[in-house]
């Protein structure tokens, strides 16, 4: 529910989903993804001001780029990190054709202007999710970068999964993990393909479970079900390091901003009440 509202605010084209009603303000943001719990009111709801404080949550939604993610990267940086290099023409996926700038000596070149736009949207979205204390799960099945992605996730304080994906992790969660589990609120794919160059199962499962996804799609990937695709290279070490750095910076920035805002509104409340 909260994710749908976010989508409406940030990306106008999703307003066609206006049939989604307003989220009831009293339900906490956690109840939507809990499995196996009763709908009893939760203990942390009574006095916790951050949940009830509407302004804290709605304030960032008023600005198109509240966390100023635009300044984190530039076209030149993307170019130097070889983000524009795609695979050969034979590997091209049909749905990636809009994002491809051209083809040079049989190698596809990705349009960096579009990448910039998509990257800004994606980073903005991750920042909002992190601001609202969502659970972010990094996924990368590329063995070369698995360790790097895990380290990035650990440094942000978020979660990673760079190993073999067991079938029911998202769809069969209460059997896999136990009751009362909270599923991730966002999946970030550093590479959307798995080891046999097929689309990662998590892409489809996240779509089934209504979990938004952000993913770096190369020229041989299918971007259709991914909520925020980022057309770009997912094979060069430099490119992947750049992505990890960007995600880490956005998430830490969003979390710090959250702390700041809490302090700010806490002081304001004290000032109002006194």
């Amino acid at each position: 529910m909260a994710a749908a509202r976010l989508l409406q605010a940030v990306v106008p084209r999703f307003c066609c989903l206006g049939s989604l009603g307003k989220a009831a303000p009293s339900t906490s943001q956690l109840s939507s993804r809990l499995y196996g719990t009763l709908l009893a009111p939760e203990a942390n709801q009574q006095v916790d001001p951050t949940v009830i404080n509407d302004k804290l949550i709605t304030e960032p939604l008023r600005h198109p780029d509240f966390f100023n993610v635009k300044e984190l990267f530039s076209l030149k940086e993307l170019f130097d990190a070889r983000v524009h290099l795609g695979h050969k023409k034979g590997c091209r996926h049909r749905f990636m054709e809009p994002y491809i700038f051209g083809c040079r000596l049989d190698q596809d070149i990705i349009d960096l202007d579009q990448t910039m736009k998509h990257l800004q949207l994606a980073l903005n979205f991750t920042a909002h999710v992190a601001y609202r204390k969502g659970i972010i799960l990094f996924i990368c099945r590329n063995r070369q970068f698995g360790h790097l992605v895990e380290v990035t996730a650990r440094d942000c304080g978020e979660y990673a999964h760079t190993r073999y994906w067991q079938g029911g992790l998202l769809t069969n969660a209460h059997v896999q993990y136990g009751t009362g589990i909270r599923l991730p609120d966002l999946l970030i794919f550093i590479s959307t393909l798995n080891n046999v160059f097929e689309p990662h199962v998590a892409v489809r499962d996240a779509a089934k479970m209504n979990i938004p996804t952000v993913g770096v799609v190369d020229t041989n990937c299918n971007p259709s079900i991914i909520t925020y695709p980022i057309p770009g290279n997912d094979d060069s070490p430099l490119a992947v390091e750049l992505y990890c750095k960007l995600f880490k910076m956005t998430i830490t920035r969003a979390k710090n901003k959250r702390k700041q805002m809490e302090v700010l509104y806490g002081l304001q409340k004290k000032a109002d009440s006194s």
Binding site: L30, L34, A43, N44, K133, I135, L137, H147, E150, V151, A153, R154, G157, E158, Y159, A160, H161, R163, Q166, L169, H174, V175, Q176, Y177, G178, G180, I181, R182, P184
Partner: protein, 380 residues
């Protein structure tokens, strides 16, 4: 859960060490049995439901155990402060003698952490965010272990590159000594991680460790790697260091014991002899009229070319003539080990003179006439 045990002690005077049996009559207690389910046996640990043994329960058990230990020490007349687990085991074996063959089925009294299996606490906090960053993989301990190992591998490689840049790589090679130890087996690793592993996962771990060990500068992480090695029990090549003894006249002698089937023999071999052998205070010629048995007796001496040098006095009981001869042979071979060099001991061992023959009489089975012989098969 079967028979929950209760410590109900009705001890009046704790310090009376005189009569333990008196206490046994006073006390009526049932011992706790061992529970079979372990966290490791279940396939999916997390989904096995809420904790069966809460922390409060385990704490309770530990208190009861400590109290029981003190009572037991008082009963056995020992000092409660210095009562070790070995003493507890001996005391329980004494108080509750059990004829059961399966050692694990006998009464035990151990610290609750050894009895109750290790459990996983709830993995997430109040806001339902999991504690561990690899929680969503399902096998967080295993993958975090592999993550750590790979991190160490990268560190070693970085260190190596650093040395290579300075040109010091050739001198600073530090390898880990892996002789005399083995990698942990899958069960031990499962125990360490409190998580079920598949064969593939275990293999991946071991391969990563092997790869780590092949690096030239892996000595930096030696401590970490040795956590996954287990010392092999050093096989005692010399079973016993046999010292020579000297009697009143200064003659060197040595004793040995041997057995074969149901015979038990002890032999005392003296130096400066003339090849005389006495069995049960009777000359060997009279005790063993059959040539074959006497050949058995002299085999060790003949093997070492010491036929006429040593005297032997032996006692033997049980079994028949052939098994008694075999028992004495083993006893005399063991006794002779004190007189000879290590190489000759090795020769004897290879000849089979120092190995006790493990064959015993096979029991008769029901439905058959003997151990192997079946009843006559009748067509109709």
């Amino acid at each position: 859960m079967a028979n929950r045990g209760q410590w109900e002690l009705q001890l009046a005077e704790p310090a009376d060490t005189a009569d333990v049996t008196k206490y046994k009559e006073q006390i009526d207690w049932t011992l706790r049995l061992i529970y079979t389910t372990t966290a490791v046996q279940k396939r999916n640990v997390a989904a096995s439901g809420p904790e069966k043994y809460t922390e409060a329960f385990i704490k309770n058990q530990i208190e009861e155990f400590n109290l029981g230990k003190r009572h037991l020490a008082n009963m056995m007349g020992e000092d409660p402060e210095t009562f070790t687990q070995e003493d507890i085991d001996k005391a329980i074996a004494y108080l509750f003698p059990s004829g059961l063959f399966e050692k694990r089925a006998r009464p035990i009294m151990k610290h609750p952490t050894e009895i109750f299996p290790k459990q996983r606490a709830i993995q997430w906090g109040e806001d339902h965010r999991p504690f561990h960053f690899l929680f969503y993989t399902g096998k967080q301990s295993l993958y975090s272990l592999m993550h750590e190992m790979y991190g160490k591998l990268l560190d070693i490689q970085k260190y190596q590159d650093h040395l290579r840049a300075q040109g010091l790589l050739a001198e600073n090679r530090k390898q880990i000594n892996l002789i005399g130890s083995r990698w942990l087996i899958k069960e031990e690793l499962e125990e360490m991680l409190v998580e079920k592993l598949s064969d593939h996962d275990y293999l991946m771990c071991i391969q990563l460790l092997e790869r780590l060990v092949t690096l030239p500068c892996c000595g930096i992480e030696e401590e970490y790697v040795l956590k996954f090695r287990k010392e092999l029990a050093i096989q005692l090549k010399k079973v016993m260091i046999e010292p020579l003894q000297y009697d009143e006249q200064g003659v060197a002698f040595s004793t040995g014991e041997g057995k074969r089937k149901t015979s038990r023999a002890t032999a005392v071999v003296y130096d400066n002899g003339s090849g005389k052998i006495t069995v049960n205070r009777v000359d060997y010629l009279c005790y063993f009229p059959v040539m074959q048995d006497r050949e058995q007796l002299m085999f060790p001496f003949q093997f070492l070319d010491r036929l006429g040098i040593h005297d032997m006095v032996c006692t033997v009981s049980g079994g028949g003539r052939s098994s008694q001869a075999g028992a004495i042979r083993l006893a005399s071979a063991r006794a002779l080990c004190s007189f000879i060099t290590e190489n000759e001991v090795e020769f004897m061992r290879q000849a089979g003179l120092l190995t006790a023959d493990p064959r015993i009489r096979e029991r008769k089975k029901p439905g058959q006439e003997g151990a192997r012989r079946k009843f006559t098969w009748k067509k109709r």
